[in-house]
Symmetry: C2
Subunit: 364 residues, 2 copies
């Protein structure tokens, strides 16, 4: 297919990753008459329950990857840590959407921050760190507290240490080395918001309303829409998210997390991180938008026009973590439940989410 020829219904979408995001992508694809083929090394993947087409293999199994590429019309993924070699192998055979470029940038905190900074998109001050002396120099420049992070493979608070006093630096470095690291200035942010944005194959861009996010134990707990921020900041967040997908020549849905920082009475935004995929903070779209983020991603990667992102109600998305899922059956009025079909309830594991809606409040 060329960039703008829509894939016909009945085509097969290959999805790397079989977790809840892959599962919800597959359900959205089915609503548009598409088939999905899930590739995941874990034989117990939740996404395997929603399609007959699957490959259980490692991401570096080139025989399996080649057969997978042959069986599908377009390839996408539910997680940003797809190995670069896997992405290149597949992209040589079928359209990979979003492209390998977006993966490479978002997999590496340094590359990501460099990419954004070069485009005048504000991020928290940062310094690369490859040795204890480099860490010491970075602390001197950025001040404390600061956060030392691995540049790759961090998520949900894993792969990072807060350094509050100079004496904590050595232990933090020892805990995370020998991985490449980055020190980020600790931003005294007021709140975190995120924007889920989509860009279609023909270059048009639409974003969902910003969500205000609250984390608990480093895991997203709630996303509330509308976010309690001034309208000008909402527009600014949307503009920055749009600038990012345009700069990446991106096709698909992308999540952008922002810190809202207020200095001298004036609120501004820093990009915390970007995720080249559907995003947990966009699950609220299922309840109150005609097109949810999963369908929007499928539309984009299939070369379809983007769907309507109008929000019909106010909403709070709440993740069900660990055994919180057990109470989901007793849901009340105004609540939509989504469960992921995971075999085992484990502490800290995202098992499902609920969307609580309320009549839409007028925005100023």
């Amino acid at each position: 297919m060329t960039a703008t020829t829509p894939l016909p219904a009945g085509s097969t979408i290959g999805i790397l990753g079989g977790g809840q995001l892959g599962r919800m992508l597959a359900l959205a694809a089915a609503r548009l008459g598409m088939k999905t083929h899930i590739f995941c090394p874990d034989a117990e993947s939740p996404a395997f329950d929603v399609t007959p087409l699957k490959t259980v293999a490692a991401y570096d199994d080139e025989t399996a990857l080649a057969a997978f590429a042959d069986a599908v019309d377009v390839v996408t993924y539910e997680f940003e840590n797809v190995p670069a070699a896997t992405a290149e192998f597949l992209a040589a055979r079928k359209p990979l959407r979003p492209g390998a470029n977006a993966l490479a940038i978002s997999q590496d905190r340094l590359a990501e921050k460099g990419f954004l900074s070069a485009r005048n998109i504000a991020v928290a001050p940062y310094r690369p760190v490859d040795s204890p002396p480099a860490l010491e120099a970075a602390i001197t420049e950025l001040g404390l507290p600061a956060v030392l992070k691995t540049t790759r493979l961090g998520y949900d608070g894993k792969g990072q240490r807060i350094i509050r006093a100079p004496g904590e630096a050595a232990a933090a470095f020892a805990a995370l080395e020998p991985k490449p690291l980055v020190l980020e200035a600790f931003v005294p942010f007021e709140k975190e918001i995120s924007v889920v944005v989509a860009r279609s194959a023909d270059g048009s861009v639409k974003n969902f309303d910003p969500a205000e996010n609250v984390h608990r134990d480093h895991i997203l707990k709630t996303s509330t829409v509308p976010a309690d921020i001034p309208p000008a900041l909402e527009r600014h967040a949307a503009m920055m998210a749009k600038a990012i997908v345009i700069a990446l020549d991106y096709i698909g849905v992308l999540g952008v997390e922002f810190f809202v920082v207020t200095a001298e009475g004036r609120a501004s935004l820093l990009v915390n991180e970007i995720a080249p995929r559907v995003h947990n903070s966009g699950h609220w779209t299922e309840a109150v938008c005609l097109t949810d983020q999963f369908e929007q991603h499928i539309r984009a990667i299939c070369g379809w026009p983007l769907g309507d992102v109008t929000r019909m109600a106010d909403v709070v998305m709440e993740n069900l973590i660990g055994d919180e899922v057990l109470a989901a059956v007793d849901s009340a009025a105004g609540v939509q439940v989504h469960l992921y079909g995971k075999r085992e309830v484990r502490a800290g594991r995202k098992m499902g989410h609920i969307n609580r809606i309320a009549p839409k409040t007028a925005t100023v």
Copy 2:
């Protein structure tokens, strides 16, 4: 499971029938963390694309039915013409929801009309017909025009003949015999509306707002909500639908079609037919309700509490019939598309539907 013990997430729902209704039921079940196993004789069934669990076998294949029953936790169906023997065979092994009683009544126009009439639920005047003289007598009693219908297996206008003049009676009888027949008085109805109602295992009942239906070539073309009828008639339709599921001791979603008849300036309702399943005229719920009719059915048959049926916007559902589906990609703002993944586009075949929404108008 007992009537009110909820099936836990991860349970398997068996669905008889692999068409678009079975497919949409399976998608809704997946959102609640359930697995689905589709039983259908047609190897090309659209519902087979959304689950790895399937049985391709005839509905009277008892070996296949027994294995299917063993593999699932509850059995439901997407069509009312499940053979009675199949229903009994399965009901002896696993909970069958809705029950065999609802199937038996709704499969037979005479049984259905008798059931409704006995409960003072108005239907069009009718007479059973088993011979040309019986038809002649029925015509004398009901007048012309009238509609001669097979009592069983009629749908989308199949299995019926309008008789406008006495001279047409013999040909109509000849075209439909030797099947059991029923003559229905031709009701000069103003419009057709329908109500999708659900009853949970613990007996609570909720209905979606009534839809106003327009048919083309005997196939549903549009369902519009709100229906353009007085509020009192809306309430009356809901009350009648609720009375029917209570009388049937029903578990699941049921569709009730009504004729709106105006005589001497006063509108009243006649039940046209009932369908013990999710209903084409309820597809609009996907776009504008927190719980759609498919999830509501899954909730009911799994012993879960019913979900919220509040409508967030006005909506028109339009079936995409035959090659109308080909234009679905170019959908405009305010439109939600749903395609069924059918392999072949055929004239008169339901290929998908769209929901067009508009801001909710206040009801009087």
